[in-house]
């Protein structure tokens, strides 16, 4: 019987570990969906995540409004080029419009937009069930709807018909559960309009600290006006929407500018201040990607990318370059040359030299063409932060996604399309011109002349703000044809063809989603 004690001992050894408990996973460093979405603060956190892709949250990766819309889109326009520091072959091929479906940068754009939409869908699915303050709940749902609309608006403009996913589907566990077909772009736009209308009804006019930077009612209206203007433009050409654009713009515009908005929007008197971190979230800001300096990498990386790399004490990668191209005898023609004398926007949008913070000397890239003596290559300056010269990639400058100057231009453009260049259209456009130090636009222009002038001012006003590509595919010439191909050919981007106005569906998406089809031409 003595052996019994060993049997007992072994039995104890076995039974001290209850198998079921032992094999249960109770993660400590990770929160799971099961034990979240229960409290008011969970609801806020679920909403805050939807903003993540605007600034990358310190991951150091390129996200939508932190570089990616530049490397994945802006560089393909007639204004921007990859600089010597941009060695990514995908970016370089995109910049000369020879993108293929395996391009990783455009793939990243696709993935991030849908990831962000997924986060919005989770918030919209989970927050209604959380017991919390009802006003706050409505606001949070409004924020997610606004952001979902913003992300879909980008997607539908970049790819045309895109799958419209609006549900959070926690029970999908196989690949086929996720297969989804493309939705006609008109339906996508209809959903964007619905989301924005609902967001506008739920969102407050403004926020006070610590919530400044969240989506507001004014932002929802301004974005809706832009959506209407876009659908009224090429390629959809739903011209009836111009009137909706005007109406919605007026709802957001301040009474001083003829609108009925109670949001206090006004142009900054000094164009340069619009972008400087010291004036962030000013009266001209409608909705911006929020950046923060020296805080776990939440800085705006665009800044360092635009800076010339030979300046002692100022490290720059010079990966973002102003497009310079051959144009007849003018060997170094670019958007930089389009500014009229006296246009204050030129000096505020570009540097032509840097002053070294260590030795105080001026550094520039001289143009070697004798036709332009003493001239220098310009550098984009809109992400510049005078306080972060030590670590240039940590700029606190926000990226404007919607600002009041653009709202005025939307109003002017839509008004011109409906009624020709009437006084209201002139007023709105001239507000923007006058602030730039330019005189009123010549009176008595034809509709087409006014349109061309407005297009030019729009381009100069919004340069390097991720707008040009969308304008290239939206805008038309006097005979109503797209300006896309001609504009790009004019600056030597000769690969441009009409079909390139839409991106190829990423190859990975085609292989993972049997219901997906490729855009024509690819």
């Amino acid at each position: 019987m003595k052996n019994l004690k060993y049997v007992v001992f072994t039995t104890i050894a076995i039974s001290t570990i209850s198998c079921k408990k032992f094999l249960e996973e109770t993660p400590q460093g990770i929160i799971t969906t099961q034990n979240f979405y229960k409290t008011q603060s969970d609801a806020i956190a679920a909403t805050d995540a939807v903003y993540f892709f605007l600034n990358a949250g310190g991951t150091g990766e390129q996200t939508l409004y932190n570089v990616l819309l530049s490397t994945g889109m802006d560089m393909a326009t007639d204004d921007v080029d990859p600089g010597p520091g941009a060695s990514n072959a995908d970016v370089r091929s995109l910049s000369v419009l020879s993108t293929v479906s395996t391009n990783r940068t455009t793939f990243q754009l696709w993935q991030q937009h849908y990831a962000a939409i997924g986060m919005a869908n989770v918030a919209l699915a989970k927050i209604p069930g959380i017991a919390m303050d009802s006003t706050l709940k409505a606001r949070l749902l409004g924020e997610s709807k606004f952001l979902r609309a913003l992300y879909y608006f980008n997607l539908v403009r970049l790819w045309g018909d895109v799958p419209l996913v609006l549900e959070y589907n926690p029970s999908a566990v196989t690949a086929s559960d996720y297969a989804v077909a493309r939705t006609p772009s008109t339906q996508v736009y209809a959903q964007i309009e619905t989301d924005l209308t609902q967001a506008a009804a739920a969102l407050p006019n403004s926020y006070s600290s610590p919530d400044v930077g969240r989506a507001t009612k004014g932002a929802a209206l301004a974005l809706l006006a832009k959506v209407y203007l876009t659908t009224a433009s090429l390629p959809l050409n739903i011209t009836g929407n111009y009137q909706l654009a005007v109406n919605t713009a007026l709802e957001a515009m301040s009474p001083a500018d003829g609108g009925s908005g109670a949001f206090g929007y006004a142009l900054q008197s000094n164009y340069a201040n619009v972008f400087l971190p010291a004036f962030k979230n000013n009266s001209e800001h409608i909705f911006s990607a929020q950046f923060k300096s020296l805080s776990q990498g939440q800085g705006n990386n665009q800044n360092g990318r635009a800076i010339y790399n030979g300046v002692p004490g100022l490290s720059g990668s010079y990966a973002e370059q102003v497009r310079f191209y051959k144009n007849g005898s003018d060997n170094y023609f670019s958007i930089y040359k389009l500014y009229q004398p006296g246009d204050k926007r030129k000096r505020a949008s570009f540097f032509t030299f840097y002053i070294s913070p260590t030795n105080g000397k001026k550094y520039a890239l001289p143009i070697t063409n004798p036709a332009f003596p003493n001239d220098s290559t310009p550098f984009f300056s809109k992400a510049w932060d005078p306080n972060s010269t030590g670590i240039t990639s940590e700029s606190a400058a926000n990226v404007a996604i919607l600002r009041y100057a653009e709202l005025l231009l939307i109003h002017a453009e839509a008004e011109n399309e409906i009624n020709g260049p009437d006084a209201v259209a002139y007023t709105s456009l001239n507000k923007v011109r006058n602030r730039a130090g330019l005189p009123d636009l010549t009176a008595g222009l034809t509709q087409a002349q006014f349109r061309d002038s407005l297009y030019l001012d729009r381009r100069l006003e919004l340069v390097w703000e991720y707008q040009r590509w969308f304008d290239l595919i939206r805008e038309k010439d006097a005979s109503g044809n797209p300006i896309f191909t001609a504009s790009l050919h004019a600056v030597g981007k000769n690969n441009a063809q009409p079909f390139r106005a839409l991106y190829p569906i990423p190859q990975n998406e085609l292989s993972a989603n049997p219901k997906m089809t490729q855009n024509p031409g690819f």
């Binding site: 460093g29 969906t33 979240f36 806020i44 991951t59 566990v173 919530d211 805080s295 070697t368």
Partner: protein, 1040 residues
């Protein structure tokens, strides 16, 4: 205590009493034992054989004629221990001073008698499964870690040294590739402790560049034996972790009645196997101009050149545009010293065996400022308290540290233009190449190597104690408790003076990670021989293992100076993302095995293991892994007994199930990710789901069938082992790509560069089939001894399914590797090149380089243009693996020549792909000197072009076949006659060379390279891998 002895005990007590009486009776008599020692196979007498009475220090050696004479007062009976290098130690019981003995010794490289199997040992002749042992002469190779000893020495093991960083990665697969996402590394069982060699336990996540192999914490000098379990019968006892094979490592313990102190030291010099021929400064400058001419931007280039030269002047140096320029490889490579000191003390009495060892190993890398240092200590104790009760402890403690080459350094050595000097005129480092200065891949690599701190340090404690008790004469209980504790600390500092740190104002990061893995095993073994013909061994048990990992990373940037490096992280003004993490996994198992042998001829093994794993979904936590094997020792049948030349004929067959569970914990749960943003300049934390919930997530299952035979001829002077097998893996744990519209990408907020959306699930299937042959021969067995070991194995791998309707998956879109149904893992998807575009030809290319001299591609689908549809899959089957070892012995001399070869297999030379872009921004290889031009049209090399679209083509896929003189060692053992006077039992001097000669057509540094480390799904991608090296060394082993 209980003083009433049970019946059986009373008997033995009386017996003991009687023996004691007889001992004292004979104590005073002196006896002489005489004899002769011969080798069994050759009948040749052996000189210098040590004959010792077990449990005493009484010993003698054989003379030149092989005779010995031993005088002793030791009472009968006693045991003689006869030991001699190269032979198995033999024990002979002596009952009286009889006539001269003839003692026959068996050479030790013939099939070892006892092999270690899962949870026990077995006589080789009773084994039913497929088990290989690493031959003795290959165990002493001067390598850092255990796995490298398997290379070319075990049939069926494919071992690739993927990086030359000292202490870094080895990729190991046994019998092919069984998994896509859940790992292909075998399970290592070190002195009974199962370890999955998870590189993440030694990687806190801070140090860049190659990862250090956690198994390098165990010195190979400690190893007594290595057995590799290959078929399902042998591995199924490890159930859920057995699918990739099991490597059982046993460390050295003291032997009965011996005391020895052995000191081994060697010093070696390693150098890089080859350098890649690159352009010099003048050639580079010409190519740069030619590239601009071809692109039509010559005018712009002149301007750019002027400003680059000016910019260089601004920074205090001149660009070399016509001379030799900088040879970056020469500046970075060196002759590196390796030192190893090993001291081991083996001591044994009849009750206690003790093995103590200490190892110091210091290997400098062939790249400056890289190294690996190890301190390791071990204690193995086995104590027989009584005939029934035995205690065993096996404890290894080690400290390893390594300076690791930062990831970008090797590409930078190749790509940095030779026109750029290392130093500027004031003697400080040039920070960046001005050609594409901003790109961190062309930081000054020498500056980075010298000034970047990139180190990893690991302390590891691996130990277990066990108690064994014989409950009944045939029934033994064993309880084992062990722990594997790994603490890793990593430090990185990027000073402001290097390109990588400049933009951040200096960057420091410290990571630490603590992993505690504990194990408890409780087994009962019943072993009985019934009526001398039924041999029965039954094992049953319960085990539990758990692992807990906690880690954290702290980082800051913006340092006022570089003085305190990473040691004063609080002085950085710019807060960088910090993190901490915790994870756990647990495994509970029941196991059982029955070995039954009838008349030693017919053998059956049945095993079953049930494993419960925390990693899986609640619906599928438990898996059951059965196997059965039969074997027939045919040479013992009467009808074969008389065939003299046939000494062994065994036929084996087995079938069984094993599993794989190596997926990260919590994979079945819907985890939330942390997403940061800010409002009002205040950071907020957002949460959103990262993974989908899959309650059905379960085991990957591998069914393996094996047929084998063991043959012995001419008294086993020729021994052949051959196996064929078929493995089918189903329910693959696949990270299956799903539509990006799922929103399931960017699950990892810290790495979202083009990440594919995936979900983890059990789908897909894969097969491996192959053969293995090992031939061991004793060619000469007289004074001049010559043994040969020859191995050949080949595995055919095929992906059968990747899940519903998916025929192809690309693990990383910027690399050529592809997972393709019908093709092996590691295959490539590439465009096919078709020479260069000749004048008048229609250009067929996906790039912009469409002028004559551009690369021409094959329009596979004939649609007149080159699109992704024209890419073809190049199958990359695992290579045929060959190993040939010859050992020679004559007098005191021994010579081992070990050749290893890997035939077949492809490698993508990504370095060369960049070196043949010919942009004029980065340097090019000398191949570009033969580039197309108007005067050199008959060439396959394209002309330089400034702005190429990167195309992954078959031009850069090369054969990875190689043959290698892996090791050649010449040793001389000083005759015992001489050393005896200095009380030295053995003294051996040796010189050795590792990787002395390599025969390969591969044009990169080394065909074993893989930038993706241990990963097999995108193996054979050589992009800036730390080059492998060759080494010469000399050493001495002395035993007192």
């Amino acid at each position: 205590m209980n003083f009433i002895l049970p019946k059986s005990r009373k008997k033995s007590f009386l017996l003991m009493l009687l023996t004691c009486v007889s001992f004292s009776f004979y104590a005073q008599t002196e006896n002489t034992i005489k004899g002769k020692v011969v080798a069994e196979a050759s009948a040749e007498t052996q000189v210098g054989v040590i004959i010792r009475i077990k449990g005493t220090s009484v010993a003698t050696t054989t003379d030149v004629n092989g005779n010995f004479e031993l005088k002793t007062t030791e009472p009968f009976p006693f045991t003689l221990l006869i030991s001699y290098i190269g032979f198995q130690t033999k024990e002979v019981e002596i009952y009286e001073a009889e006539d001269p003995l003839e003692i026959k010794l068996q050479a030790s490289n013939v099939l070892k008698e006892v092999v270690v199997v899962g949870y026990g040992e077995q006589n080789r002749k009773d084994v039913t499964g497929s088990i290989s042992s690493v031959p003795t002469e290959l165990k002493s190779q001067p390598v850092v870690s255990i796995e490298r000893l398997l290379q070319g020495s075990v049939a069926g093991a494919q071992v690739t040294q993927v990086s030359g960083q000292p202490g870094a990665g080895v990729s190991v697969s046994i019998r092919g590739y069984n998994s896509i996402n859940a790992g292909n590394d075998p399970l290592y069982v070190i002195d009974g402790y199962p370890i999955y060699n998870d590189y993440t336990v030694g990687n806190a996540g801070v140090t860049g560049g190659p990862q250090i192999n956690p198994l390098s914490s165990i010195p190979t000098s400690d190893i007594e034996s290595i057995e590799v379990l290959k078929d399902a019968s042998a591995t199924a006892i490890y159930g859920s972790r057995g699918a990739n094979g099991v490597v059982i490592v046993t460390t050295k313990k003291g032997k009965d009645s011996t005391f020895s102190v052995t000191y081994d030291e060697y010093t070696g010099v390693s150098s890089v196997i080859r350098e890649i021929p690159l352009l010099n400064a003048g050639q580079f400058w010409k190519l740069r101009e030619q590239a601009a001419i071809n692109t039509g931007t010559y005018g712009a280039l002149l301007g750019a050149n002027a400003s680059i030269i000016a910019s260089a002047k601004n920074q205090g140096y001149n660009l070399d545009t016509s001379g030799q320029g900088t040879n970056w490889q020469k500046a970075a490579f060196r002759n590196a010293i390796t030192q190893s000191h090993n001291l081991s003390i083996m001591s044994g009495t009849d009750k206690t065996k003790l093995g103590v060892s200490f190892n110091y190993f210091n290997q400098d890398g062939v790249l400056i400022n890289t190294n690996f240092i190890r301190y390791a200590g071990r204690i193995n104790v086995e104590h027989n308290y009584s005939k029934k009760f035995k205690l065993t402890a096996s404890i290894n403690a080690s400290n390893i540290s390594a300076n690791v080459a930062p990831a970008n350094v090797v590409p930078d050595l190749l790509f940095t233009p030779p026109s750029v000097p290392i130093y500027n005129s004031s003697g400080s480092y040039v920070i960046q190449s001005p050609f594409e200065a901003a790109n961190p891949t062309i930081a000054n690599p020498i500056n980075t190597l010298v000034n970047e701190i990139n180190q990893t340090k690991t302390n590891r404690f691996l130990g277990n104690v066990s108690a064994q008790y014989k409950i009944l004469p045939n029934l033994t209980a064993k309880i084992l408790v062990g722990a594997d504790v790994t603490d890793n600390v990593q430090n990185q500092y990027l000073p402001t003076t290097i390109s990588e740190g400049a933009a951040l104002g200096g960057y420091a990061a410290i990571g630490s990670q603590f992993t505690t893995n504990w194990l408890n095993e409780n087994t009962l073994t019943y072993s009985k021989v019934i009526k001398k013909i039924h041999k029965l061994n039954v094992l049953g048990g319960f085990t539990a293992q758990q692992s807990i990992t906690e880690g954290s990373i702290t980082a800051a940037a913006g340092f006022p100076n570089n003085l305190s490096t990473f040691n004063n992280i609080g002085s950085g003004v710019s807060a960088q993302p910090v993190s901490s993490s915790a994870s756990e996994w647990a495994l509970a198992s029941f196991l059982g095995r029955v070995n039954y042998g009838l008349k030693d001829k017919y053998l059956v093994t049945v095993t079953l293991r049930a494993d419960g794993s925390s990693r899986f979904g609640p619906n599928n936590k438990w898996g059951y892994f059965p196997s059965i094997a039969v074997a027939w020792n045919a040479h013992q049948e009467d009808f074969l007994k008389d065939i003299k030349w046939l000494s062994n004929l065994k036929l084996r067959g087995s079938v069984g199930n094993t599993g794989n569970q190596s997926i990260p914990p919590y994979s079945s749960l819907s985890q939330l990710g942390y997403y940061r943003y800010n409002f009002s300049n205040t950071t907020v934390a957002g949460y959103a789901p990262q993974t989908a919930y899959n309650p059905n997530l379960g085991w990957e299952q591998t069914t393996q069938t094996d047929f084998g035979t063991d043959l012995g001829f001419l008294k086993n002077r020729i021994a052949v082992t051959a196996d064929v097998y078929y493995k089918l893996t189903t329910n693959l744990l696949l990270s299956e790509p799903v539509s990006g519209t799922s929103g399931l990408s960017y699950y990892n907020a810290t790495n979202n560069a083009g990440q594919t959306s995936t979900i983890f699930q059990n789908t897909g299937a894969m097969e491996n089939k192959g053969y293995e042959v090992a031939v061991l021969t004793q060619n000469l067995i007289n004074k001049f001894k010559w043994n040969t070991t020859f191995l050949i194995s080949e595995n055919f791998n095929k992906i059968l399914s990747l899940g519903d309707g998916i025929s192809q998956e690309i693990p990383n879109t910027s690399q050529p590797s592809v997972l393709q149904v019908g093709a092996p893992i590691g295959s490539f998807l590439v465009y096919k090149t078709n020479g260069v575009i000749q004048p008048g030809e229609t250009p067929l290319t996906p790039t912009k380089d469409t002028k004559p001299g551009g690369q021409q591609y094959v329009d596979v689908n004939g649609d007149g243009k080159i699109t992704t549809a024209d890419q073809v899959v190049l199958k990359n089957n695992p290579p045929v693996i060959l190993g040939l070892t010859n050992t020679f012995k004559y007098g005191g001399f021994d010579l081992t020549v070990f050749l290893q070869a890997s035939i077949g297999g492809l490698i993508y030379n990504a370095n060369e792909a960049t070196l043949e872009e010919g942009t004029g921004y980065l340097n090019s290889s000398t191949v570009m000197l033969n580039g197309y031009s108007a005067t050199n049209t008959n060439t396959s090399v394209k002309s330089p072009y400034q702005d190429p679209t990167v195309t992954i083509s078959n031009r850069f896929i090369e054969s990875a076949s190689y043959g290698r003189l892996k090791n050649i060692t010449l040793g001389y053992t000083v005759p015992l006659k001489i050393t005896e006077k200095a009380k030295i039992k053995s003294l051996r001097f040796y010189v050795s060379a590792q990787n002395l000669l390599t025969w390969t057509k591969y044009t990169g540094f080394d065909p074993e390279a893989s930038s993706n480390g241990q990963s097999l799904i995108n193996k054979g991608y050589d992009s800036g891998t730390y080059p492998n090296s060759k080494m010469f060394l000399g050493g001495v082993t002395v035993t007192f």
